[in-house]
Amino acid sequence: MAEEKKTTAKGKARAKRVEEKDKVKAGKPESTGGAPVGAVMVVGGGVGGIQASLELANLGYKVYLVDSSPSIGGVMGMLDKTFPTNECSMCILSPKMVEVASNINIEVITLADVLSVEGEPGDMRVRLRIRPRYVDIDKCTGCGDCTAKCPVKIPDPYNAGLDMTRCIRVPFPQAVPGAAVIEGEVCRYINKGKCGNCVKVCQAGAIDFEQKEKEEIYSVGMVIASPGYKPFDASRKTEYGYGVYDNVVTSLEFERILGANGPTQGHVVRPSDGREVKKLAFVQCVGSRDVTVGNGYCSSVCCMYATKQALIAKEHLSSIEPTIFFIDMRAYGKDFEKYYVNAEAKFGVRYVRGLVSGIRERQRTKNLLLRYADEDGCTREEEFDLVVLSIGLEAPCGLKEGLGVEVNGYGFAEADSFLPVLSSKPGVLVCGAAQEPKDIPDTVTQATAAAGMASQALHGARNTLLTRREHPPERDVSGEEPRVGAIICRCGSNIGGFVDVPAVVEYARGLPGVVFAEERLYACSQDAQEWIRQVVDEHKLNRLVVASCTPRTHQPLFRETLQSAGVNKYLFEMANIREHCSWVHMKEPENATRKAQYLVKMAVEKARRLEPLAEGESEVIPRGLVIGGGVAGMNAALNLARSGFQVYLVEKEGELGGLARNIRFNRDGADVQEYLRGLVEAVEREELITVFKGHRVVDVSGFVGQFKTLVRDGEGRETLLEHGAVIVATGGGQYQPAEYRYGEDGHVLTQWELEERIAEKDGSLKEAKRVVMIQCVGSREEERPYCSKVCCTEAVKNALALKELSPSTEVFVLYRDIRTYGFREDLYREAREAGVVFVRFDDDARPEVREVAGALQVRVPDANLGNETVVLNADLVVLSVGVTANPDNAELAPMLKVPRNAEGFFLEAHMKLRPVDFATDGVFVCGLAHAPKSIEESVAQAAAAAARAESVLCKDRIVTEGVVAVVDAERCSGCRICVELCPFEAITYDADRRVAVVNPSLCKGCGTCTAACTAGASRLQGFRSDQIFEQIEAAASAWWD
């Protein structure tokens, strides 16, 4: 390790790889029968794998992140926007990728496939096959000179093959690793021995044609599989003409067309002639809900992504008229229904309920004729400019063969009924779309859950394989005059080719405070770091400026170098003279040189005023608090306890169990009550859990790491609990119907009441000749404009159970859309096969339940028959009532300083990437408190929330960033605007001193508070206004130099 301290991050990665290999070769003696191995291999580097890796590193484990492609990022990296917030996909993913790249405990292994997994949990061996990249990632700087000279054109996989790239290229601008790759199969040098242009132009000497495919064995404690999915091959649906007609594209291709960074820069144009699109069609369920192609399941995400793509297309080009042809609109997730309703009502997206049976191309115009059956069953044809096939998600390769986990009939990983991240193989956890098609938040949730479950198995080995950077003590520079060193990077020819680097060096030497200025060919190279350390030492530098590329990727490296030279890492500033200068002013070298000089001057002026910043620390009370003792809360508590932490579990009722007490069996028939009994027993047996039944939370104070919560029982006795993290699992409620004669007629039941009778094998059910179920009772309506997600599945599940119990009973399900997403679709199909009749009604023509001659009669306008009323006499009417938010949330939210949405559910920090976090650190959410969801989804979310809480509790101290706001008490007038403005509740008002106080443990360093403080009392460290004023002055004065 001693030697590592001197190497760069990239160098370190290599060193560790070798070290790890040696260990395996040496037989790894400590692995037999001893403590578990504190490392995890994550297979698949999409958003799930990235999330799991970051979580695991945070929880104290060494991570190997394996991806079969040349960069991590997965499909999310190709998406333009994400639903239902229309947020830019790359904007939120790229920071996570950079985080992976700069985390020394995550080793990214690309172009690798898993050949086998062997061993027991805690001691697993994974054999990898690693294909050659032909580029040394430690040397490659990602400059792109090679691409410019490569003669071999290939379709660009990042742009779904819609445009061309070269055989050697960085996969995409944000790629991690940010190194080039050569496609061996088409490379002219490899195949014909000619060319070698890349070798000639690469000034870093990174091209390595000697690389060979190799196999390596890695020793880890657990494996998390997150291989994602395989997009359905649209050409298999020959009737749609994909691959034949130019203007039929897949949704993934269309995503790239929409991308501002895609082949058309987001212009919605046709591949055939580049003409702007007016009439745009989306064909849903291509390769989904389709037994003819072997995919009986629903792909879960297509309805929403098509809606998103239609919206974004309209946003790009308002004249576009998008039409979505669908069967059932499956807008079942949090805020999906509103998104769908708005798309139709506000943004003019046209939805046509009907399956497209075929597509023809008009030869001359290359327009497309879509043939479909409309709601009335009539066949129609309509012409479009461009057709997008909403392709489904198929199981990825390698689940069974490589990872050795059992798969279901569709090839997805078999999963536990209650905790779907558990695969059939001990030691291997599965998350994301490989387990079942799912969207980004559910993938992130499962990935976090899987990281937590891995930690449960390995917590005895926590922190054993982590590499910690150690640095010499910091030199005290206070009182010293600024002595700035300026390093100007040539970046090979990337900067040096357009900017007169010696002139910039000369200019830098003349700037006030600069005592040293030199150029380097590659400032980021390993040997340059050593050189910088020597320079800092020799010249007694106390500020460092590097003029090279973007600080977003390279600042961590240089800060690290400065720190290793014994100087506070915040005494560093970068000038981006590559991305923001040489690369964008290639045709005006004189101006580029001048601009580079000014950028350096600005950096120097700021650097002169930088001060050393301390990274704060605060202690962590290693105990968790879980509020709510239902399935989610109990699971969260158990997970935390099993990872070695003490937990307080507070339940307002006298019994544990929550809403699940009303559910008898799961959709796959698993006995929920048996599961619940086991869970309650486990909680009550667990020594680390203290249960407070009949208690309510009455007050919460403190912050992440150090909360104080007061709980009170029915008799007013209070207990003060001290803990480091909170998990909110307050559950939800059930809509209490007043409609459809519920409560008036004993033959009108809820699904739960029916389920109870089915479970008890109630004889009266067999006598019922006809049962009518009504969907969306209390859901998708004005007062509760959301889908309750579970009721469709509940209805088909109970319909099937009813049919099994009494095959002669007729069952009708009156519905608006059947939302049996994922494998739930199988139940829907089975129900239809079993003779259950589904009748669709429109939102504005709801069924009626009457009493006619002492019997129940249901009248429903059948939307598929032109709203002709169908009259059904029923022995039982069963209402699928919606899920409601727990009213207690209103009381709890202000205590925890966390928000709720309009429907009363808690609002997470970020819909996509932080589904169980709140913006307030140390507080997490799971289960129905967050949104309606099924039991297994609640259990997965509970495991995720527990993992997030564990990441707080597993640390002795919370280390805070140096770039945080501070309030100068001398200047503060106590107006409290900053308290109000802070998005993270990090500022409080100290009434005794009459000043605002920033809690550095909560501050994220945005500086929103600083701009509002007219007294200048609130300042953002590292971005103080006096520093920015100096930059402005430097920028302005530069023109006069």
Binding site: D80, T85, N86, C88, S89, M90, C91, I92, P95, P173, Q174, A260, N261, G266, Y507, T550, P551, R552, N576, E579, H580, C581, W583, V584, H585, M586, K587, E588, E590, N591, A592, Y598, L599, A909, A919, V963, P983, F984, K1004, G1005, C1006, G1007, T1008, T1010, A1011, A1012, F1023, S1025, I1028, F1029, Q1031, I1032, E1033, A1035, A1036, S1037, A1038, W1039, W1040, D1041
Partner: protein, 150 residues
């Protein structure tokens, strides 16, 4: 440098751009990676969030003689800090109207939302803003060269 200075045109315009770290600075990075060309008359200041841009910064830039000031941040809803850019949007409205009333052409101050994926948009913003400022000419607030002692 003396030689170069001689060739420089006093009418050259200069633009200061405040870019938020997470979206617009990244968008500018992407413009670079994509080798999108735009005029070299813009210098940028990286801030963590546009929410930290005090109106003072803009006033200071104009006072120092900048001909145009660009503020670029995450689209509404995309803010890395959730809502920091809300304040930017509000402050900008006030600031622009104030400048207008004072007789400083409103076109000299611009607010744009540029995401990390919008390299092309960033380049286009710089191109069109440069063009606009060139049309407006040097700022009337520029100090005479003699005054700054150069």
């Amino acid at each position: 440098m003396a030689e170069e200075s001689a060739t420089r045109n006093e009418d050259d315009i200069r633009i200061l751009a405040f870019l938020c770290n997470w979206c617009s600075y990244a968008g500018a990075d992407l413009a670079g990676v994509s080798r999108l060309q735009y005029p070299a008359k813009v210098l940028d200041v990286r801030v963590m969030c546009t929410g930290t841009i005090s109106p003072y910064f803009v006033i200071k830039a104009f006072q120092e003689g900048m001909d145009g000031v660009l503020i670029a941040g995450c689209h509404i809803g995309d803010c890395h800090y959730l809502k920091g850019n809300y304040m930017t949007a509000k402050r900008f409205q006030v600031l622009r109207e104030a400048l207008k009333f004072l007789g400083i052409e409103e076109g000299r101050l611009r607010l744009e939302w540029v995401s990390a994926a919008e390299g092309e948009k960033y380049a286009e913003v710089i191109r069109s803003f440069t063009e606009e400022i060139e049309k407006l000419g040097p700022s009337p607030l520029r100090r005479k060269r003699a005054e700054v002692g150069a």
